[in-house]
């Protein structure tokens, strides 16, 4: 059976395209645009991003707004928690006291002579029967409980029945205890305790010297003055905590951001080289990286500090940076090598090579951009660990040393007064925690946004 197929010339003409066969339903997005949209959808990551920006502003712009020198001591306000009463009263300069009692015993026993204030406390007491060897005087900042912990012994034995306390007085409550000593120098069982609330005072000369009153003003004794403002209080040396936190953030964030940046870059270069060249070179390079990984990290950080000839008390931001870079690159290099190895087998690399692309072009144009997501995520996760390392080293006295503030060294100083003035430890510790938390959550968000394969299952 045969079929006659007749074709006219019309049948061979082009059919006019009537409709668009394929349309893109959505605008085409680049990898980074897509990642940004996904990151914006992640509330936790976005908040973390804002926190990171706020921290950078705190460090970079903060000192411009709050231009207090972090190393200046305010001796009137030592270890002050934030929000204390800053009013002080002007008094005459201190005159040594020799026990001449202005008023005779209106009250029996232990009493305060004159006005007790943060300049001096004058105690007088009636002779205690049996106190042959004189008296011992204690001062405590806590009320005396049944365990009879009298606190700091101000004087071990004094013959007279008066004492003037000038030692490091703060505007707060004190509990003075006088104990008689028997003929063997042993404390008698009975003790007298008196509670004193000290108002804050300052002499006119001191107030003028600190710029609290104008040089041409004629202040009267008893006038109130307001001491310098410390929004977050002061540390044990009377330095402004806010200014120190801002300047400390410079060190902490500098090391926390620059060190990871440098070692991730080195790791990328090393890993890309190993992954691209492959073969024996790759094996040798990676074996070396394995060795460096095996070095006990913190021990070597400390060794490096010794190596740079820095003693325990010297500040070593740059040695710390170098040591961190030298010891931390292998993890990134291994990651990047793995990525490069898998990308190398992709079709588009072969196609590009077929079109005559040279190796540097392949690496720069295809391989590095395609690993950029992984690199960025690594970088974000490296920041908190670098901040931790800095804080840890400064804490054990091997990192940034005083007077340079860093969050770690501030924690180190603050932990000594943890029980009485916890704010000195709390503020830097909170800042470290917030920073680490923000970078961790941002890293999680970036990982979810940038790399579908690494997406966390949460």
């Amino acid at each position: 059976m045969t079929n006659d197929i007749r074709l006219s010339s019309r049948d061979l003409e082009h059919i006019a395209q009537e409709r668009v066969v394929e349309t893109l339903s959505r605008p085409s997005l680049s990898y980074w645009q897509d990642a940004w949209i996904r990151l914006k959808g992640n509330r936790r990551a976005l908040i973390s991003l804002y926190i990171v920006i706020a921290l950078l502003a705190f460090t970079l712009i903060g000192p411009l707004l709050w231009s207090v020198d972090p190393s200046v001591q305010d001796l009137d306000q030592i270890s002050q928690p934030p929000g204390v009463d800053r009013r002080a009263t002007l008094v005459a300069p201190h005159v040594p006291w020799h026990g001449g009692e202005a008023e005779t015993a209106a009250v029996d026993g232990l009493r305060i002579v004159g006005a007790a204030n943060s300049q001096a406390v004058r105690l007088a007491w009636d002779p205690i029967p049996g106190a042959v060897r004189g008296y011992r005087i204690y001062r405590n900042i806590f009320p005396i409980g049944p365990e009879k912990a009298y606190g700091l012994p101000l004087v071990m034995s004094i013959a007279g029945t008066w004492y003037e306390d000038l030692l490091d007085l703060k505007p707060r409550d004190y509990y003075y205890t006088v104990v008689g000593l028997d003929e063997h120098g042993v404390e008698l069982p009975d003790a007298e305790t008196i509670e004193v609330t000290l108002p804050r005072v300052i002499t006119i000369d001191e107030a003028r010297g600190r710029g609290l009153i104008a040089a041409d003003a004629t202040p009267q004794l008893g006038d109130p003055v307001t001491l310098a403002l410390h929004p977050l209080g002061t540390d044990a040396l009377g330095r402004d905590l806010l200014a120190r936190l801002m300047h400390g953030a410079r060190v902490s964030l500098f090391i926390g951001i620059v060190a990871p940046f440098l070692y991730v870059m080195i790791g990328v270069a090393y890993g890309a080289m190993a992954g691209f060249i492959g073969g024996r070179t790759d094996a040798v390079l990676m074996r070396f990286a394995d060795f460096v990984v095996a070095l006990p990290f913190l021990l070597f950080m400390i060794l490096f500090k010794v190596m740079f000839g820095l003693g325990a008390g010297e500040s070593g931001i740059v040695p710390m940076l170098i040591a961190m870079v030298i010891l931390s690159w292998p993890a990134t290099s291994r990651l990047v090598r793995g990525q490069i190895l898998s990308i190398r087998e992709e079709g588009y690399i072969g196609a590009s090579r077929l079109l005559g692309a040279a190796t540097p072009y392949l690496v720069m144009r295809h391989m590095i951009p395609n690993t950029m997501g992984v690199i960025l995520v690594t970088l974000t996760f490296a920041v908190p660990s670098a901040i931790f390392t800095e804080a840890f080293l400064s804490f054990i006295g091997m990192g940034v040393a005083p007077p340079t503030p860093s969050w770690g060294s501030m924690c180190n100083e603050g932990i000594k007064t943890m029980l009485t003035t916890p704010h000195e430890l709390l503020f830097p510790a909170i800042l470290i925690s917030i920073t680490v938390l923000a970078f961790n959550l941002l890293g999680d968000g970036l990982r979810d946004a940038l790399d579908a394969r690494m997406r966390s299952r949460e």
């Binding site: 095996a294 006990p296 021990l299 325990a312 908190p384 924690c411 180190n412 510790a429």
Partner: protein, 310 residues
């Protein structure tokens, strides 16, 4: 298996050699020498001391002597403590660190698996939210702050009972060890909880779980026998790095709680520039970590037959 073990051990030895060499190199790049800080030493005494410690020999010869000594397990004599061998120091203080580290690992491992399993079980419900919040805290708060807070809570606890329930510092009895080990393990515990949670969620839809359900096994049995066991495998893999993290974290805990461990000793040695102790401790810790990682890998191969050791 045997060949693999042998290969790993040889690799480990080479790594230890590398650590020893790096330590030696680092210490010899230090400006000055261990004796330059000695007080009141005349030139003759200095020369004699140099001869005694072998510091007058060429660097290469010193290096080989050093390697030979390490191979024999001899780390030399302390520079700052008279007549004290580094080996004695390690022998005396390392067991303390190791005990604390072991307890911390136990805390971290048990806690991590338990909390991780709980969060996965109560996914997106209140227990999950609370535990994950604590986990984030555990990851973000530095170890020294944890240690300080731990000590502070001990003070409060003892004050509350009016007696020393748990000592605030020192070492000796189990009561001394409890809180420092817990503090030391917290960071790792947080990390393990996260890991455990994601690995639990990963296998919750696995085929073998469905099979077990289809067989009609009770839910508790599926959870304990199938889910928990399989999900805790990844926890074993990170135990190696966790041991490293816990040993270094031990420094801080030892400092804060006044525990006579090797970490505290090391920090002290660095502050006093006690060269032999620094070098000995570094090499010792390095070797310890290298072989711990190898041991963990081998154990993992035994637990999980799917992992082929080659």
């Amino acid at each position: 298996m045997f060949r693999y073990t042998l290969k790993r051990l040889v690799q480990g030895l080479i790594t230890v050699w590398f650590i020893a060499t790096a330590t030696f190199g680092a210490m010899h790049l230090v400006p000055g020498d261990p004796l330059s800080g000695e007080k009141a030493a005349s030139a003759e005494i200095q020369a004699n001391l140099r001869a005694k410690y072998g510091l007058d020999k060429p660097v290469l010869q010193q290096y080989f002597v050093y390697l030979g000594n390490i191979a024999r397990g001899d780390f030399g004599i302390s520079f700052t403590q008279k007549n004290r061998e580094v080996n004695d120091i390690i022998r005396e203080h390392f067991p303390v660190s190791a005990t604390m580290g072991l307890l911390a690992i136990l805390f971290a491992g048990a806690g991590g698996v338990l909390w991780g399993a709980l969060t996965a079980l109560f996914r997106n419900r209140l227990p999950d939210v609370i535990i994950m919040f604590l986990v984030i805290l555990g990851i973000s708060v530095p170890s020294f702050v944890m240690a300080a807070l731990g000590q502070l809570s001990l003070v409060k606890l003892n004050a509350f009972f009016g007696a020393t329930v748990l000592p605030v510092g020192g070492w000796g009895t189990v009561r001394h060890m409890l809180v420092p080990s817990l503090v030391l393990g917290l960071g790792t515990m947080a990390y393990l909880t996260r890991l455990m949670r994601s690995s639990m969620l990963e296998i919750v839809n696995a085929d073998f779980i469905r099979t077990a359900k289809a067989k009609g096994l009770p839910a508790a049995r599926i959870f304990s026998k199938h889910q928990l066991r399989n999900a805790s495998l990844p926890v074993v893999t990170v135990l190696g790095p966790a041991i490293a993290a816990i040993t270094t974290g031990g420094f801080v805990v030892e400092l804060v709680f006044a525990i006579p461990g090797l970490g505290r000793y090391f920090v002290q040695a660095v502050q006093q520039l006690d060269y032999t102790v620094i070098m000995g401790t570094t090499v010792f810790y390095g070797a310890f970590l290298v072989f711990m990682v190898i041991a963990v890998d081998l154990v993992y191969g035994l637990i999980d037959p799917r992992v082929r050791l080659q």
